[in-house]
């Protein structure tokens, strides 16, 4: 009736599986509800604390604009984490991409943008190839890029920022507005929507989550793992390139020290958004809300003249709380 060990084990596992599944669902739903609630609580708290300035159209757009750099990077990071990987190098790559853009396009906007995007993509591709084909674990491969790309940025720029004051289009992207809406915020929203469609509505996105959710099953279903794994790091690099343009435009210069600690902010936003670090479960909406949560928090504490230490502290508390909601049932 059965093979020696497995069917009983299998059957037992099956009966045991139903309860945790139901529980896991409740947890997921609770968590999906949790982040919007946090955002609303922050909005309410902000309105109470500062009726005049906080909940205004201008201030909300400021939040969106300030969050745009982290936000664009976090969208790429969501794809990486969806496969069960991690990208620690985004901050360093951002500086390197900005400097590379500045070197090829000091006078004109288009070469600058192509340079930044192209170099971001290239560095991301290096990450992806090292991980997928070189079989280096993502943590180590991107840790190497974290160190290497920063060094590259400092070396290429001779440790000095490159002024981009002549690049009208780039500066416009960073600080300009269309119909009163900051361009950076528009770019952020567009990248988010694009990422959402890519992840949820295309074959590629389905394959990304399949690889993260069950590598073995994905292979047996004919999905080629290495191209998928390579591509998510390349995508992360491309998002970094976009973020480099936004940040350089805002600052009016390409700085070799830009993007410091960006990786931590991006990973934190993705994780509190509900994407599983183990891979296989990813949500762009969650990532967006995660970015917004930190943006609102930062904005609110600033309005209240709270010291930056307190911002850091509350960020830590939020990450821990989100992780506690996300943890698996033991």
């Amino acid at each position: 009736m059965s093979t020696d060990v497995s069917p009983p084990a299998d059957v037992a596992a099956e009966t045991a599986a139903t309860a945790p599944t139901a529980r896991a669902w409740r947890r997921i739903q609770m968590q999906e509800a949790a982040l919007p609630v946090v955002v609303i609580l922050l909005l309410v708290a902000g309105t109470i604390a500062d009726r005049e300035q906080f909940l205004t159209r201008d201030n909300m757009l400021t939040v969106l604009t300030q969050a745009s750099v982290t936000g664009v990077v976090a969208v790429g990071m969501t794809f990486v984490i969806a496969t069960g990987g991690i990208d620690l190098s985004v901050g360093s790559m951002l500086a390197a991409a900005a400097i590379a853009g500045g070197l090829v396009g000091e006078q004109q906007s288009l070469p600058f943008m192509l340079g930044a995007l192209g170099f971001g993509l290239l560095l991301g591709l290096v990450n992806g190839v090292a991980i997928a084909y070189g079989r280096i674990v993502p943590f180590i491969a991107t840790l190497a890029m974290f160190a290497g790309a920063r060094g590259l940025a400092l070396w290429m720029s001779d440790k000095t920022p490159i002024s981009l004051l002549d690049l009208d289009v780039v500066r416009d992207l960073g600080r300009g507005r269309v119909a009163g809406i900051p361009n950076a915020a528009i770019v952020f929203v567009l990248v988010t929507v694009g990422g959402w469609i890519l992840l949820n509505r295309t074959r590629y996105g389905r394959h990304v989550i399949a690889v993260g959710g069950n590598r073995e099953a994905a292979r047996m279903a004919g999905i080629r793992l290495r191209p998928i794994v390579t591509s998510v790091y390349a995508l992360s690099g491309l998002c970094v390139g976009i973020a480099a343009v936004l940040l350089s435009g805002r600052l009016g210069s390409a700085s070799p020290v830009a993007g410091n600690l960006l990786e931590l902010d991006a990973i934190a936003a993705v994780v509190i958004g509900g994407t599983s670090l183990a891979g296989g479960r990813a949500t762009i909406t969650g990532t967006f809300l995660g970015v917004i949560t930190f943006g609102l928090l930062f904005n609110l504490l600033n309005l209240l003249d709270m010291p930056t230490e307190l911002q850091q502290l509350s960020k830590g508390v939020i990450i821990l709380a989100a992780a506690a909601l996300q943890r698996r049932d033991g």
């Binding site: 093979t3 020696d4 069917p7 009983p8 099953a217």
Partner: protein, 512 residues
């Protein structure tokens, strides 16, 4: 042999009485009686699924029996308590040795019961002790400081036994200890076993190699369908007598009648000289449209590995796989799938499914290309197609938005089948399709397999259940130790034929 209960002094070392273990839909043990006396090697034989592993897991306390009693020295063991079993001197050496490769021999021997001096590990003391134990097994040549990962298989086996001895084991249960050993290494193992029994240790020895059983055993017990069918046989009992006792399982499932109209068409799958040593050696076969080819053999004979090679999941050392007239590139699962090969793997949940996904996604994942409309997935079409195939297989519940983890084993299997039907595959590789599936659902899956073959699919079926192979297949390829040992006609093959070819032969010992 069971009247020692009242008198502890005369009690056997181990007495198992009326042991029953039920799993949902499966009775793994159905009243097993089994007695081991001190200094005895008691061999346990039976085909896949006879209940050997469940029995030893019950004795070791890893599995809680539904009913029955297990007594050591006449005193009952608390059920389902591995620590108590260990404390009473029952030690088990499983097929997958539970040694830590990155620790030294001495560290492994004392893992979990380390000797200490104050708060620190007493490493010199443990090394001395390790040397003493290894010497007792006549293996003082194994250095206690060596890393276990670097030892040959036979030495690892000895370390496992030594580990049991450091815990004062008096009953040693060995599950297929010779499976990974060469023939001269088996001699070494026998030497160790004889030494232990001379000291009064009782040994339960499980093996598929009947020649070995005859050589080392004092008595032999045969299990079948979770029952003791022959207890304490003389080790001189002939091979054919044992095989007869091992087969003859009673099956509740009705296999579908052979359809006289089903005539295999042209050859679809052609496998030649396929090898991936040591698991698979020079295997060749052909499967025709509408044909069901069984692959039989014991667990570990290389059946699963053959399917993985055909499906391109693993890369062969040698040999070719062709579908139709097109040879497949080696080790490319995507190319095999494009050519029409679908694999339903043995470990359904680990390898075949995304338990947290709904049925639709699980069904369409291998063929998303066809649902692309201007780059985006047409989710309505996706859902409709998935539902159509799930319905054709009568998957319950009939709700494609359920999570696959909420389905029963049989229905999960259907989800995997639906995936390959949706992909229009021509060759279906089924690895233990009825594992973990209850009796009623099994019959349904049998009917499905026949239906799919009748529709023109070439089916390759791997199963541990000999009756399943004999009842379903047109032809049966029997493998042992990675080699083809026979190709039998499904209509006439009996379980005894299959088992006789599946049991590995030791050339010298067969004469007996």
């Amino acid at each position: 042999m069971s009247d020692g209960v009242s008198d502890a002094a005369g009690a056997p070392l181990l007495a198992v009485r009326g042991l029953v273990k039920d799993y949902p839909g499966v009775r793994a043990l159905d009243g097993v009686d089994f007695t081991v006396t001190a200094g005895q090697v008691h061999c346990l034989v039976g085909q896949n699924g006879a209940g050997k592993s469940t029995l030893i897991k019950c004795i070791a306390g890893l599995v809680t029996p539904t009913a029955g009693e297990i007594a050591v020295d006449g005193a009952p063991l608390p059920p389902g308590d591995p620590a108590a079993a260990l404390a009473r001197g029952v030690a088990t050496i499983y097929q997958e040795l539970d040694l830590v490769d990155d620790l030294t021999v001495a560290d492994n021997l004392f893992l979990g019961h380390e000797q200490r001096r104050g708060p620190l590990l007493d490493r010199p003391g443990m090394r001395r002790e390790a040397t003493a134990v290894l010497d007792r097994l006549d293996h003082a040549s194994i250095p206690p400081r060596a890393l276990v990962g670097g030892l040959p298989p036979a030495a690892k086996q000895v370390v496992s036994i030594a580990r049991a001895l450091t815990r004062q084991a008096r009953l040693l249960i060995m599950d297929e200890p010779s499976a990974v050993l060469g023939s001269h290494e088996v001699e070494t193992l026998f030497g160790v076993v004889r030494r232990l029994t001379a000291e009064g240790v009782g040994v339960v020895y499980i093996s598929h190699r009947l020649e070995e059983v005859a050589a080392i055993g004092d008595v032999i017990t045969v299990l079948r369908d979770g029952r003791t069918v022959a207890a304490s046989l003389d080790p001189a009992t002939g091979r054919s007598t044992l095989i007869t006792a091992m087969v003859g399982r009673q099956f509740a499932e009705a296999f579908p009648d052979r359809d006289p109209d089903r005539r295999p068409g042209p050859v679809v799958l052609r496998v030649e000289g396929l090898s991936r040593r040591p698991a698979v050696r020079d295997v060749s076969f052909e499967v025709r449209e509408g044909e069901i080819l069984g692959i039989g053999g014991l667990v570990g004979a290389g059946r699963t590995e053959i399917l993985r090679l055909v499906a391109g999941v693993d890369r062969p050392d040698a040999g070719t796989v062709a579908v139709g007239d097109h040879p497949l590139p080696p080790g490319r699962a995507d190319a095999a799938i494009r050519a029409g090969v679908g694999l339903a793997p043995e470990e359904r949940k680990a390898q075949g499914l995304w338990p947290g996904w709904d049925l639709v996604r699980n069904v369409t994942v291998a063929d998303l290309r066809r649902f692309r409309r201007r780059g985006l997935l047409d989710r309505r079409a996706e859902r409709a197609e998935a539902r159509r195939h799930l319905r054709s297989l009568q998957t319950t519940p009939d709700d494609p938005e359920r999570l696959v983890s909420e389905l029963s084993g049989g229905n999960q299997q259907k989800v995997v089948l639906a995936r390959w039907l949706l992909r229009n595959c021509r060759v279906l590789l089924l690895d233990e399709p009825t594992r973990g599936v209850d009796v009623g659902a099994k019959a349904e899956i049998y009917r499905l397999i026949h239906r799919l073959a009748a529709a023109g699919l070439a089916v390759v079926l791997v199963s541990s259940e000999l009756a399943e192979l004999a009842g379903l297949c047109d032809r049966i390829l029997v493998v042992a130790d990675g080699r083809t040992t026979a190709v039998l006609d499904g209509a006439t093959a009996t379980e005894a034929d299959l088992l006789a070819h599946a049991l590995p032969h030791d050339e010298e010992a067969t004469k007996a």
